[in-house]
């Protein structure tokens, strides 16, 4: 049964997502740089010329704008998808007492979907308590058309809906289709506190995030499918605490976090728009991401002295979910499930060991060992497989997908003289897997980088990397519904030779101009693959420069282009390759800007930024005959300009103008009507093509 498999996968995916979001182990407090800073006598860094003002100061602003939303994609630029007149509040308030207490309130675009606010109070260098809000939004499209409307877990068709065997036989489809917005809004509330003692620091933080919106979902009945706007209503709570102690040449700490995901939806239930293929499949039900929990505890230690430094980390984490299973099918009697819920549990163990040393004058060596183990402790059971709520197809066991990753790195950096140094190293990766086509992957890699400081203004470096990946015998797994072609090598498990080269040149001088350029090229050769991804070549470059025309005028410009060319081979007769795919991808980003301040007797500041971005992907399938796929691109011109005029000492008026010309298209839906595909009820053409403006005025008042 698909939904049960999905449960496991979603747990894993969610667990990974949570782990990524809450466990940046070295993000704050324990990183190498931070640790070094702890040792340093920061009092000597004090800004002698900075004048710390005490008392209450700051500014508040109120803004009104005209937002031209025909296509909600423009809201990614303007920050809100409300059409017409919109308003927002800004604030930057600061109160500081002579005794060192400080309270700040910062608000930015409050009132927009992407608004934020934060209130912070505390005593500098001792403690700090903060409370905050931040809105995040992503707008996909409002061009999607669907006859479904949603309520709770249910997606309904109109009461007079007439089903059809194929989409063209649904007589009321076009009358019933309505636009639906595909977007997500996240409201994030934060509460955090930090306390610093003489040789220790303690942090706690709590975050509550509510997410709402709609995303694309595919509701399948055997060979028929409908694109559905799945409602998203869920919350994530995260709690973190850490404490660390430090002294001369050492640092130890404990870091822990707990997170809980709660989905307001228990399942997703939709009516079948098609005449059922078999039996009475009038509605479908699919599992949604289950409620789940994760916790993590990590311990850090760091020792340094005499040019040697040792860093150790040990962390364990556990991810669990135990949501009740849905029945294997809602159409007809459901086969018995082996358990009422998954009782899923995945434990991870991570260990890192790093050593740095300055062996000789000019010679640094470093070595590290990383260990990461994922152990799925969920009981393995035979689950009934009811193919898309339609027919029973035996049972299948939930796979484990355990893995253990180990990595060893050895590197040395040698400084020949003040101008040139060489950094070179070796890296060995060793991965063990279960339930994949290969049990083990091994990769050997080497790199070398030469830095050359040509002059006081010019510097350059060149880096080359090479790695070779191979592994145990490739035995296609037999647990999948249909067998793999015996010549297929999945790209993430295939033998691979990788080469990467990068050249960087930068210019920075005491004069007005600074510039840099970077050229890169890479090649992945899947040298043992007959069917599958066989070759990926990339190349690209960046150029950027900024120029200070005068004290008041700065201009900058950048240009970036990347190409990626990948080759795949396939077989239509389950044997050696007889068709080939070439995909050429290209991205361009070019922009320029000018900042002109202190015009009109220092009352007027002007800014103008222009950017152009273009991404496209061209795919061609060749089997004797060549068949190119259609358009797949997005292209954007964006102008972002402001003018700020100081009406008097306290009051300023700011004008913001955003203009965007945007176009995208995907051949998967480009130009397609709702009933263009007989067995898939689609959203129709979701391409965007718009010119949109945002014009806003903000009054700000200095307190």
């Amino acid at each position: 049964m698909f939904v049960h498999k999905k449960n496991t996968t979603q747990l894993t995916m969610l667990a990974l997502a949570i782990s990524a979001s809450v466990s940046p182990v070295f993000a704050e407090g324990y990183g190498l740089q931070n640790a070094n800073r702890e040792k340093a006598n920061t009092s000597k860094w004090e800004c002698k010329r900075c004048v710390i003002e005490t008392g209450f100061n700051g500014s508040v602003g109120v803004g009104a704008a005209y937002n031209d939303i025909d296509d909600i994609h423009f809201a990614n630029a303007s920050g809100t998808d409300s059409d017409g007149l919109v308003g927002h509040l800004d604030a930057d308030l600061n109160n500081k007492s002579d005794s060192g207490y400080q309270t700040t309130f910062v608000a930015n675009k409050l009132g927009y979907d992407i608004g934020s606010a934060r209130l912070e109070t505390g005593r500098i260098g001792q403690y700090k308590i903060g409370i905050g809000y931040r809105g995040l939004a992503h707008y996909n499209t409002n061009n999607a058309l669907t006859p479904y409307s949603s309520s709770g877990d249910n997606l309904y068709l109109p009461s007079n809906w007439q089903t059809g065997a194929v989409t063209s036989q649904m007589p009321t489809l076009y009358d019933d289709a309505r636009n639906v917005e595909l977007k997500t809004q996240r409201d994030r509330y934060l509460l955090d506190a930090v306390y610093k003692g003489s040789f220790y620091q303690a942090d706690i933080n709590y975050q509550h995030e509510k997410r709402q919106g709609k995303r694309t979902f595919s509701g399948n009945f055997l060979t028929n499918s409908a694109m559905l706007a799945q409602p998203i209503d869920d919350t994530t709570d995260e709690f973190g605490a850490k404490i660390y102690f430090n002294g001369k040449g050492w640092l130890i700490g404990i870091d822990s976090s707990f997170s809980q995901y709660s989905n307001d939806h228990n399942s997703m239930i939709w009516q079948n728009a098609f005449t059922p293929t078999f039996g009475a499949a009038y509605r479908g039900q699919s599992a949604v991401a289950p409620d789940n929990k994760a916790y993590r505890v990590g311990a850090n230690a760091q020792l340094s002295g005499n040019g040697h430094q040792v860093l150790m980390y040990l962390g364990v984490a556990s991810f669990t979910q135990d949501d009740a299973f849905l029945p294997a099918t809602v159409n007809g009697p459901s086969p018995a499930l082996p358990k009422a819920s998954l009782d899923g549990k995945v434990d991870t163990t991570d260990m890192k060991l790093k050593y740095n040393s300055r062996v000789l004058r000019g010679l640094n060596i470093r070595a590290s060992y990383d260990y990461s183990d994922k152990d799925n402790k969920t009981a393995i059971n035979p689950y009934p497989q009811v193919i898309t709520d339609s027919y029973y197809a035996g049972t299948a066991n939930n796979p484990e997908y355990d893995r253990t990753k180990q990595q060893v790195k050895l590197a040395a950096k040698y400084r020949f003289n003040r101008e040139i140094y060489l950094d070179a190293g070796y890296q060995y990766d060793h991965n063990d897997y279960s339930d994949l086509d290969r049990d083990r992957l091994r990769q050997n890699g080497v790199f070398a980088k030469v830095n050359y400081k040509i002059s006081s203004d010019w510097s350059t470096w060149l880096k080359a990397e090479f790695s070779d990946r191979t592994g145990s015998a490739y035995n296609p797994i037999t647990t999948t519904n249909s067998q793999s072609n015996p010549y297929l090598r999945k790209s993430y498990l295939a033998d691979r030779e990788r080469q990467q080269y990068q050249l960087n040149v930068s210019y920075s001088s005491a004069t007005a101009l600074s510039a840099s350029a970077n050229v890169r090229v890479s090649s992945d050769d899947y040298d043992d693959t007959l069917v599958g991804l066989t070759q990926v070549d990339t190349h690209g470059y960046d150029i950027s420069a900024s120029y200070l025309l005068s004290d008041d005028i700065i201009i900058n410009a950048y240009l970036n282009q990347d190409w990626r060319d990948s080759d795949q081979a396939g077989s239509s007769n389950f044997g050696l390759p007889n068709w080939y795919v070439n995909t050429d991808e290209k991205s361009t980003l070019v922009g320029a800007g000018i900042d002109y301040r202190h015009l009109l007797d220092k009352k007027l500041d002007l800014g103008l930024e222009y950017s152009y971005s273009d991404g496209q992907s061209d795919t061609e399938v060749t089997q004797g005959l060549s068949s190119p796929y259609g358009d797949y691109f997005s292209e954007k011109h964006n102008i972002n300009a402001f003018a700020k005029y100081q009406l008097d000492e306290k009051i300023a008026l700011r004008l913001d103008w955003i203009f965007e010309n945007y176009q995208d298209s995907d051949w998967l839906n480009q130009g397609l009507a709702l009933d263009a595909i007989p067995n898939v009820l689609i959203f129709g053409d979701m391409s965007s093509d718009y010119n949109a403006h945002y014009v806003g005025f903000t009054f700000s008042y200095e307190l």
């Binding site: 060979t223 519904n481 249909s482 239509s572 007889n578 068709w579 004797g624 005959l625 060549s626």
Partner: protein, 651 residues
Amino acid sequence: MKKIAFAQIVSSAIAKSINITVKKALALLALVTMLAACGGDDGSPGNPGEPGGPPADEINALNITIREVVFESGIATVNYRITNETDDPVVGIPSATYLAAQLLPQGFTNAGNASQWQYFTSESCNSSCDGEFIDHKNGQYSYTFSGAFNGMNNIAFMPGATQRIVIKVGGDNLPDGTDLPITNQHYDWQDQGSEPAYTRNLIDMSTCNTCHNDLSFHGSKYNEVETCVTCHNVDKVSNPGNVFAPMVHNKHLTGFPVPLTDCQTCHVADETLTENMNWARVPTMEACGSCHTNIDFPSGQGHPAQVDNSNCVACHNSDWTMSAHSQANTDAVLGQFNAEIVSAELDGDSVNFSVRLSNPATNEVYADSADKLTFINDLRVYANFGISVDYTTRSAKSIKLQDTTPISGSNGVYHYQISGLTLSADPVNDKGALALQGKLCSDQTMLANCADSDSTTTLKSSHQYFSATALTDQGRRVVVTNETCGSCHGDQQLNYHGTRNDLEGQCQLCHNPNMQADASAANPAASTADYKHLAHTLHAGSRESYPDINYPGNIGNCAQCHTTNDSGVLTAALPLNNAVQPLAFNDGTFTSATSAICSACHLNDSAMAHMTQQGGVFKGTEADATAGTESCHTCHGQDAAVDVLKVHPIQ
């Protein structure tokens, strides 16, 4: 410079044409005119360099080796060589037909669609040519099509697509009168590289010819599958039922000698055919619907509505299709069970025998006797005696082992008795036969308890000979084998009377000379169920109860069914084995054995008069019919002047 070279080529080509094809002046003039009309086009190929060698003096077979297709300005020239069976060049082939078609790859016309041939043209050369024909006089030939393929038959030539050219020669003779056998040869090529990027090689003609003999169509001109498909496609035939796959499927729907559900009867697993598994991997409504004729896919009759082929494989993946349309499950089940008679002896008018049941997959015996094994649906043993006279009775005795408690036995070998045999005159020196048949309860690939499963798998029947005291390998003469029958009927897949499929040795226990013919029948052999007469007349389509039999091969090819004896001589040879009995009639008369057999087919008055003259007895007394007066083998015996093995079209 170019012009001169071209002129030389043309004149040399004309000269060769004059020498070789011996055209009449008028035809030559036409050729010259035609070549002249092509002036300026330098697409004419030069003389292929390979030395010819001496021309063939005897031709039993033609080999056409297509060396290349030269494609210039959209016009194809095919260069090929024709030799005889010993690779000697054949010069002066007087006529040929050239077919051209293009293949669209699988999924190209729509997701799920099979690859599809598109007919361009058929051009001929005999007294005149549609295109340009050159006999290089050394076994090498060239043919340039009359124009560019692009646009012919309203089909666009697609660069990179797989192309096919078929050359048909033969059916006529060389100027010296040597007959040329009809020969088809295809060549797949493409214009943008060496090898075609994709193919459609599903079936080889030799598979068709296991049951058919030398199958050919359209006046015997076309005798290869690769030829048929160039025309039998949607772009050429006006009736969709004549597209190759639906046409062939449909033609085999009635009278097919094996279960239609076994696609691999024709779609054999031959790895040299790159697309041999298409039958399971590329299900389409056209291919599947040609057998499942009660389904209308677009309107949803008999199957959920499907407007095109894009979804078929979503449900009918190759594993599913193979399990439903091949012998794989049956083979898997049968691989778990073997029944064998391990001892037998005569005891008065009874036969005592023992049976051993085992699992070949595990090499273990089934410890229980058949009556206690829950997966046995039916397991019967039949017995008859008197091999010397081709059995003593048409009513073989039998017992059902699943209902019989064995007399004794243990650990996989159990003893039984069949009583009431009809003994022959000298039973101590005669022999008998036991035959074994049955059904097993099964579920997919596994044996199953009969209480849990309704589906059954039929055993391959077998027979075992015995003497008065022991088993013996030497029993009744072997005339046909399960293998020869299987060339059309599959490996013991033809079941009669439920589960009897050992056509080699089981049927004869009842279908023996004790069966009687109708004395009033026009063709007596077609009225008796005696095995030899039954088999001959059934396949010849002369039995009233099987009026629709349409024998797919050449009925005179005795070797299609008859096997060879230990000396390698076909068992159809004369004289007959001594055990062969005369044909018995229901009025008490008899026809002598050889005459009875021959007259099953050769039943006109003059044939019967000839047989009578040579000692044959028709409807005489048993004594006359067995007196040995037939002298057939004097002339028709093995190696004699008109040996039956020579006068029949045996292959």
